[in-house]
Each structure stands twice: as C-alpha cells, then as structure tokens.
Symmetry: C2
Subunit: 338 residues, 2 copies
C-alpha cells in the first residue's frame, strides 16, 4: 500500500532544488503543487500558449528564467534575529509608506533591539516589539508616536490605473478583486480606486489600539494561521515574511488570554533587528522573489488552480478550478550561485 | 498610546470564561470576536429578532443556553496522548463511515500505540501513525488494508435533503455551498447531491498514496496552517481536533522534504491513542461542542461576519459583511460544573 507519506517524498524530490536554503514556508506551496498546469482559455492564454505539456508549480518555478525573479530593495528588507535564527521580512512601502518609513526609523535607532516576541496565539499571530506592560514604555526616539492609518490606499483614478496590481481571475468573498500589489497579496476596489494588503499567512502588520491612529510600528505582528481576512482594511499591513516563518510559527503559545506570555522568561528576545541596506552586501541574505507580473508566475498560479489537470496518474483526482488568494505562495529563493 | 496588545487583553476578558481549560485554538475566534452581532435582514431573521443589542461572538457563546451545546458521542471521540498532553479529536462518521469504522478498529487493536508523529510541515499538516519507512510496516490486524475512497458522499435526492447541513449564506470559491455537515466544516453541491468535509484548520484526514483506494486510516494528518481547500474531494476527511491543536501546531518542523523528520529521535511518540467510549466516564474529557443548527451559533457566526457593526467605538472599523468558512470556529467548551 502506498501512503500519503510516500507520495509526499516523491513529490518533494521534484522541486526540492528551489527550496535549498529556504524554509519550508516558502516552499510549502511548491512542494504541494506536484500537478500539471493546463491553463483554461478563460484565464491565462499567454500561459496556455507557453505550456505545451502539463507542468507542476514546482516544475514551473524551477524553470523560471532569471527575469522572472526580483531582488527586493535592501531598504525594504528587515532581518529579525532571534536565538533560533533569522527571519527575513520584506516591507511594502507602496501599501503603507508612512508606517514603513517609521519602522525604518525605529530599526535604525535600535528601538527593537533587546525587546521581545511577547505573544503567540494559536492559528492567529505572533507579536513583537512594544513591551506595553512595561511602564514607562521604551522611548521611540525620533520616530513618530502616532500615524494616520494606512489600512488601505485610496488613489486618484489615474494613480489607481498606474498602481502595480496583478489581479487573479478568482473571485473572493472579502474583496471586489484580489491579486498582488507591488508583489504583495492584496485586495482592491476599482469603484473606489482603493487597494489594501490582505492578511495571508506570513503577512506582517502594525499593532494598534482602538484608535485608528494608535499604531506607529513599534508593535508588529505576523500571521501564523488561517488568513484572518476580516482584519483587512482594519489595520495597517506593512509587508510579509520571505524566510523564517517556522521560527515564528512553532513558538510556544502564550498562556495568557490571546496568547500573551505570562512571564518575561517565556518571551523570545529580539537579539537584533536591522535593515539589509545597513549591512555590507556580503552579510545580506541573497533572497529573490518571483515577480508576480511574470509569465512564470501566471503559469505557476494556474498550476495551483488546477492541480491534477491533465495528469490522470497524479495524486490530485479533482482539480479545484479555483485558487484562493492566500493559497498562492509567491516563490522565494536564494539567488543561484553561478 | 493604546496598543493592539492592550486591546487584545480587554477583548479577552470578555469571554475568557468559555475558554477555561480549553486551548486557545478553540477559543481563538471567540477571543478575536469582540464586536457586536447585528444580523442583516437577508441572513438570519431569527437571530435578528433575538438580538436586541449588538453582542460579540464571545458574548453570544457565553450566553448560549444548554440546548445550544451537544456532547459528542464517545464512540466518535479520540484521545491522542503525546508527551506534552492530550489532543481530543471528534470523528465524523456521517462524512466517512467506512474510514471512521476502520480507524476505530485500529485504535481498539492498539495499532497507533508506540507509533509517532512523523511529519510537521509549516503552514500545512502534521501527520502520524503508519511509520512507512519501517519495513515491514506494522501489521494492521483486523482493520481493512484498503478502503473505497470517501472523498465525498453522493446521496440520493431524498438522503441529500435529510443530510444535516447548516448552510452559510456566504459564497465560496471551492464549493457551490459551504456550511456545517453534522457539525463539521463542509461543502456540498445540490446539483449532484454530494457533500464533503472541508480542509479547515484542525481538520483531520486520512493519508493516502496516488491510488484513491490506498488510504485506510493507519496514517492520519491534521491541518495546522491556512486551509488547503484544494485537498477537498481529493482525500478523505474523518473529523477535526476539538482540543489540543497547539500541542500539534508548535511541533518543530521536520527537516526532510515536506516536513518529515530526518531521524526517529525527532518524532513525537504517540503514548496512547484511545476512544473515549473505551474509558470510564470519569476519565473522559467533558467537552461540549456548539450545535451548528442552534440560534446561538447562527448569531455567533453573524457576529464574525460583521465584526464592529453597530459598535463605532469598537476595535473593528470596517465590518467585512462576509465570513469565509474556515474563519468560523465552532465553539468548544468544557461542560460547566453545576
């Protein structure tokens, strides 16, 4: 008798290459996507034309040309160093320019160094930074103590048209349209020229109080469970974790309500929080992110949308014909060494 | 400056009562749902009629009458005892009668005792049981080595009408209709009289190989990340975790492809796996599950659908007006002591 376990090993062998040095988080979808891509006419004709034989998500990602990948701007890459390793976060200034600017200031003035991860709530978030219970709170230096909310961005009709957004054809219950804004999971409403970050696994946001203006970036969270999309447009999304999610997701859950740790001893110290731009190039993590406007990404998403299509001997027996926004993992890899 | 952290503590204080003795998993949604329920006319008039003032999910769950709760049949309750504690699973014989029967046989013949959790893949699954790499595999006794797939159940028109299903009005991308089948997250298609278990957080399924008939219940998995709904109708769902998810979700991720552990030392032993029915009543965990056909559940779901509605001073500023199936947590509690 074959088993799911054995299937999984076979599947893994097909794309483990792109996972080299990366966490299983960023590889999770590729590793699951071991079914062919056969784009239906109504979605990606370009992809259809370039896909002569069924290929899996992993096959497509592994074969993607160099120009399908982008190197995040070091000014937008944050390293969260904890005792178990390094979490790499990409900030999204196009979604929340003021909050991202404030977070850069906090990082450069070492605000986070010596603070800790203070919360781990199962199937929801981990949260770090602002210790809160400490009175007085750590001074935030020259960062702004309060910011106007950036829960969403409402643009002029012209700016909305220009705003980079790679839409999915798949319908969504929380947004009029979903897709990828400047490479980040997002929703948008063409009727109001509004765009916002979507709370998918690994997305990073700014903790706030009841007041919309009460967030300043000193308290940040990452989603570690099923996408709490009801948070969309209610709190400011500032980026997503590119590498190291398992370092956050396996943290013991806090025993106080909402997963806060009961004692400082239970918290995870932030040894250092830095911007890639402030480190020598030789000390930066050479991550590359697949461009969501690349044909390779379009083909890879189609492989997720119709797992098993055209592969009667594959594991998947019934292609969904649909992919939910947060089930699309934007591929991340370490820059290949020539 | 208030912080998200402080908000969270305030919110928690409102419903922590129902969480007593339960994991944050089962409390996660109540703890997050600190906004009022104001059912719109198009959904639940009954709930609307019974809701004079906005109440939060937590308020509604805490105030639910005794008849809004059910005690799972001990024949369907599995205790997975690992070194860190007990995971309580409710089996769903209405979704997969043959697989559930085989799992009961495996449990009663102590098949799982001494086996282990062999896989933890970030944002996907943990998997236990059938060791697979061991050759020969542990004999499965009088359990059936192979079963016809129960990926979905296709019923007669009459049986489909009678099949307990509490539908959500909210649209879904993976199913024609979604809701709760015999109290479990599910999808269905009235055109084909078909119903199936949906892969939400905490759902338990039967590992299989490429062959649809290759699953027998000796290898089981639980979802620990964003709902992989593309698995729906491709693999047999047999139940869900009622209590103890954090014991599974924080397990270190395996370092082999797909999260399999590289060495036996990394696995988590299953000290004992038992059916509640086989233990004295005094040794059973007195869990109760909210009935998905109760007015309280309808009202509670509406509180999740429109968090913040009617509460301008609450944390949520923009009610979603929608709730995705897997963002509905079916409340679980310990039976109140008189």
């Amino acid at each position: 008798m074959l088993t799911y376990l054995r299937f999984a090993q076979n599947a893994a062998s097909r794309i483990v290459g792109i996972c080299l040095g990366l966490t299983l988080t960023v590889c999770a979808v590729p590793l699951l996507a071991q079914t062919p891509a056969q784009p239906p006419a109504q979605t990606q004709p370009a992809a259809a034309a370039s896909t002569s034989t069924p290929r899996s998500f992993g096959d497509i990602v592994a074969a993607a040309p160099a120009d399908a990948w982008r190197t995040p701007d070091p000014q937008n890459v944050v390293y969260l160093d904890i005792p178990t390793g390094r979490v790499v976060i990409e900030l999204a200034p196009n979604l929340a320019p003021e909050h991202v600017a404030n977070i850069r200031t906090l990082i450069r003035e070492k605000y986070f160094d010596g603070l800790a991860i203070v919360r781990s709530q199962d199937n929801y978030v981990v949260q770090w930074g602002d210790p809160v219970d400490k009175v007085p709170r750590k001074p935030i230096g020259s960062a702004k103590p309060s910011l106007a909310p950036e829960f969403e961005r409402t643009l002029s009709a012209e700016a909305f048209k220009r705003f980079a957004f790679d839409a999915l054809p798949d319908r969504d219950g929380y947004a009029a349209e979903v897709g990828f804004a400047s490479g980040f999971h997002a929703g948008r409403d063409p009727k109001t020229n509004t765009v916002w970050g979507a709370h998918c696994y690994g997305v990073v946001g700014v903790g706030r109080g009841n007041e919309s203006t009460s967030g300043n970036g000193a308290s940040l969270y990452a989603i570690i469970g099923h996408a709490p999309r009801h948070l969309d447009r209610n709190i400011t999304v500032v980026g997503r974790v590119l590498q190291g999610m398992p370092l956050l997701s396996i943290l013991p859950r806090g025993t106080r309500p909402l997963g806060f740790y009961a004692t400082p001893a239970e918290t995870t110290p932030l040894r250092a929080v830095s911007l890639a731009a402030d480190l020598p190039a030789s000390e930066r993590v050479p991550v590359e992110v697949m461009r969501t406007d690349s044909p390779s990404f379009t083909q890879a998403v189609e492989a997720l949308r119709n797992r098993g299509a055209g592969d009667p001997n594959g594991w998947f027996k019934r292609p969904a014909g649909y992919v939910e926004l947060c089930n699309v993992s934007i591929p991340v890899r370490l820059k290949p060494t020539k």
